[in-house]
Amino acid sequence: MKPAPFDYYCPRSLDEALALLAQYGDEAKVLAGGQSLVPAMNMRLARPGVIVDVNRLPEAAVIERCDGSLRVGMLARQADLERMPVALDAVPLLAQALPHVGHWQTRNRGTVCGSLAHADPSAELPLAIVVLDGAIEARSSARGTRWIAAGQFFESYFQTALQNDEIVVGASFPARREGWGYAFEEFAGRHGDFAIVAVACAVALEPNGVASEVRLGLGGVADKPHLAPLTAYCGRVLSQRDLPEIANAAVADIEPPSDLRGSARYRRALATNLAQRALTRALASARTACDGLAQ
């Protein structure tokens, strides 16, 4: 298991990197953390002719809070976030999702943006950013910067809206807002495996207890993170009794795959169950947040 040959570039500036992508297009692959790309190369399932190693780009590992968001630079490792209490506190959903991402040893190297760009439909971080309604910053030398809403970024299995001359330079995760509660639930075969089904949930409560927003996303049930249409449940006071119905609604239009890890109906049942758990926890944490406001 050795990679096929490739030309190797290690740019020292983003402009250099973008110029390489513009030049080589499809032939080139960006190497960041490498925790998904290098295994695929070792198995020769991926055989890029050109590797653009972005690990030496200056200041690309920045993690900062700005304008109500947590901005994560392209080289920020997953474990960098885990080591930043401020960041975890800012985006509680990320704090809950990160321990499920691979293993500590792979999170030390794997990047947040790389996981988004890789777009595995079972991966945790794409699911989290979709539910939070975050955005991905893409840049190319020809067209400069554009922000892609997370909901538009993921297109299918390992497919994103990214053009082949573009690179993900950062991602923006909306920070915790007043009255919001968050929950992440996952079921996997073993600790650290890709999810069979994962659920991320964010609920916003008005001080009067009315749910102003109910966002719930499912991973592992489609070719990309699936955001359930739950607007019908907004503007209502939600009680524990409503949650089974919401969970059922959340999975109503999914058509999960059948494979080695489970049948479609198993995934649907898991999704319903995890959705209910996530709703319960998100609602509880939103209530706590509201109580905090009230005091």
Binding site: K2, Y8, H103
Partner: protein, 163 residues
């Protein structure tokens, strides 16, 4: 910008287990093969080459990572540490001593990677719970021990270090 063609080699210099190393490498040479070959760091074991088993885990610039998922060329200027930095046979590191005392290794093939992971993890988390260590070890496969003695040994070592 540095560049190396697929047929070419680039000279890298780095520190491996405290020694300066300078070598010409082709771009596709995996760090695991570079360490075992030119660097003769045979304590880096290769078990899967797709990042699952954890046997090749080494420390690169202070972080425990999979050597099979890095290219040697990426480590130019880096400090790489393998199991050799822990201790030697007659002056073992507390982790090594506790592994022996707890019978936390049998064939010993997965052991060097686990030792590097554990040593690095304990620096950040000096007072781990049992559950923490089990989660840390979920990044390593061992087929001999059933893991219980490994968890015990790491918890012992953490306690010894705290004293």
């Amino acid at each position: 910008m540095s560049y190396c063609s697929k047929d070419g080699r680039t000279t890298i210099s780095l520190e491996v287990d405290g020694k300066r190393v300078k070598a010409a490498v082709s771009p596709r040479l995996l760090l695991s093969d570079f360490l075992r070959g030119p660097c003769a760091a045979k304590g880096v074991h290769v078990g899967c080459e797709h990042g699952v088993c954890g046997a090749c885990t080494v420390r690169v610039d202070g972080q425990a990572v999979r050597a099979c998922l890095m290219l040697a060329i990426q480590t130019d200027g880096s400090r790489v540490e393998t199991v050799k930095v822990l201790g030697i046979a007659d002056a073992m590191h507390p982790l090594q001593e506790r592994f022996q005392a707890r019978h936390a290794l049998q064939c010993g093939f997965c052991t060097p990677g686990i030792l590097i992971s554990a040593q690095t993890y304990l620096r950040e988390h000096p007072a781990p719970t049992r559950r923490d260590i089990e989660e840390l070890l979920s990044g390593h496969l061992c087929r001999c021990t059933g893991y219980t003695p490994i968890v015990d040994a790491i918890l012992d070592a953490a306690e010894l270090e705290r004293r």
